[in-house]
Symmetry: C2
Subunit: 291 residues, 2 copies
């Protein structure tokens, strides 16, 4: 059994990005510039955005954090986005989700210029991904592909089961895994809340990618020997014995499943650390597409 | 066993569309207007476009056929498309594929205004479909969904196997069948050229949607009793005993598989006739979205 070390790989990717940035600067160019829009003061969102900004600094990117009040109108937010769309000094930007309830998230995402949509959430970028055209692939599925690539895990002709059909993980990774690409070329089954006898599918899977959000959902008896496990679940579970009062749990019962797995991502330290690295990679791509 | 009669259903849909058009005219509106761009004089393309134009007449649409020379430059074709994008009198248009080799198909499809892309081929529309937003769904997958709906075939929780991962049939129908919609909510496996032991998947399928293009590929021993068969394959097979010198064959060995199927589409007369009806439906939708 091999642990897929997302922390290590994400560090390597950041170093690679830093080298690219150094080259750009050396050649007289300007550093890539990522902006993040944060509406309100949700604790988790603040943490995420904060760590994105810190990572920009690490790799030599310029970053701009735009903090907006919780009660901003949809119209004002749209105006802000238009401003970012038109600002030539910004290569890419993200709007941190979730947004307050009075704002239509779909409308906001549609307003982002697809050429600056480094989150890959705009339908145009999603469609390009599905149609195998060059585009920004959203961070979590992109991170999974990158982990499979770096660990040289064979995916062609394998039976891959993706659990969960969300727009940001399950759906896109199910498409990516079955594209005529490497990694890819898998026979993918997408299972979800309406699936009957889910374990009939997981038991036959060579690769399981779980993005369900139910702690310890996948037990040892639901998988076969040699399975590759990519655990995207991140759930806070109360644990008074811990100083923070909680622990982070994945979808997979790690301690038992690891005994059967050939490769497995830990939670935390698996897919999680990859997402920011891939966001930075998209921003670098956006910069280079413009030059 | 029930035959899924695409010819009959497409007729009903056309009548429904005609009734809508009559209402629009009665209320002082103008008829929906579909334009078709045909480059060169490929025989099959001429036939397809001709029958699209005829169908427009049947339902009371205005149609415009734009015939362009085989040796038109990419630039001139792009200019033509820009003209159609800006023509307020045209609700939707299609560019008949394939295009001559000196023209970049992707570039042409990207140039079509997504709001007029009634073929649903533009990445923006493909992405919206995948993200479950309102959009133009391309004709063949849309036609399959409509057949399942009209025959009240249960898809929720069923195991659906889609054969073939093309951008115009396999990929989109695999997504549509697993969306949180009705029809939809299926557990979908997308199998393709790299799949090992394809019959392991087809044997367990409640619903098989085949878009492979290999005549008589699916035999009776590859399916289970009660299976629902949607056959998207259309291949000309030489047959000297026929006046035309060929017969049209589907992917499914109809005569043997029908004995086990609960529902089955014939070829021809199944999915085929639905495509033009759904193209007309998209054009009507485009008109109504503009009003």
């Amino acid at each position: 059994m091999k642990i897929i070390d997302g922390k290590k790989i994400s560090k390597i990717i950041k170093e690679e990005i830093k080298n690219e940035v150094d080259k750009i600067i050396k050649n007289g160019g300007r550093a890539p510039h990522l902006a993040a829009v944060l509406v309100g003061s949700d604790g988790a969102s603040l943490t995420y955005v904060g760590s994105k900004v810190r990572s920009c600094k690490e790799v030599g990117f310029k970053s701009t954090l735009i903090k907006l009040s919780e009660d901003i109108t949809e119209k004002s937010l749209l105006a802000k986005i238009e401003e970012l769309n038109n600002n030539d000094k910004i290569d890419g930007f993200i709007v941190q989700l979730p947004l307050p309830k009075h704002i239509d998230e779909d409308k906001i995402l549609m307003a982002v210029n697809p050429n600056k949509d480094v989150d890959g959430f705009h339908p145009t970028n999603f469609g390009k991904m599905a149609l195998n055209m060059e585009t920004f692939i959203s961070a979590t599925p992109y991170g999974i592909i990158e982990l499979l690539k770096r660990y040289k895990i064979e995916t062609s002709g394998k039976n891959t089961v993706v659990i969960g059909r969300s727009n940001i993980v399950g759906r896109p990774i199910s498409i990516l895994m079955s594209r005529k690409e490497n990694p890819g070329n898998s026979t993918v089954t997408l299972v979800h809340s309406r699936t009957n006898n889910l374990e009939n599918f997981t038991k036959k899977a060579d690769i399981i990618i779980s993005a369900l959000g139910v702690p310890d959902f996948i037990k040892s008896n639901m998988v076969k020997n040699g399975v590759v496990i990519i655990d995207v679940g991140i759930t806070r579970v109360k644990d008074e014995s811990h100083p923070k009062g909680y622990v982070i749990k994945g979808d997979v019962d790690f301690d038992s499943v690891k005994l059967k797995a050939s490769y497995i991502t830990p939670v935390p330290g698996g897919v999680g650390p990859m997402t920011i690295a891939m966001l930075l990679k998209n921003t670098l791509l956006s910069k280079s597409l413009k030059v």
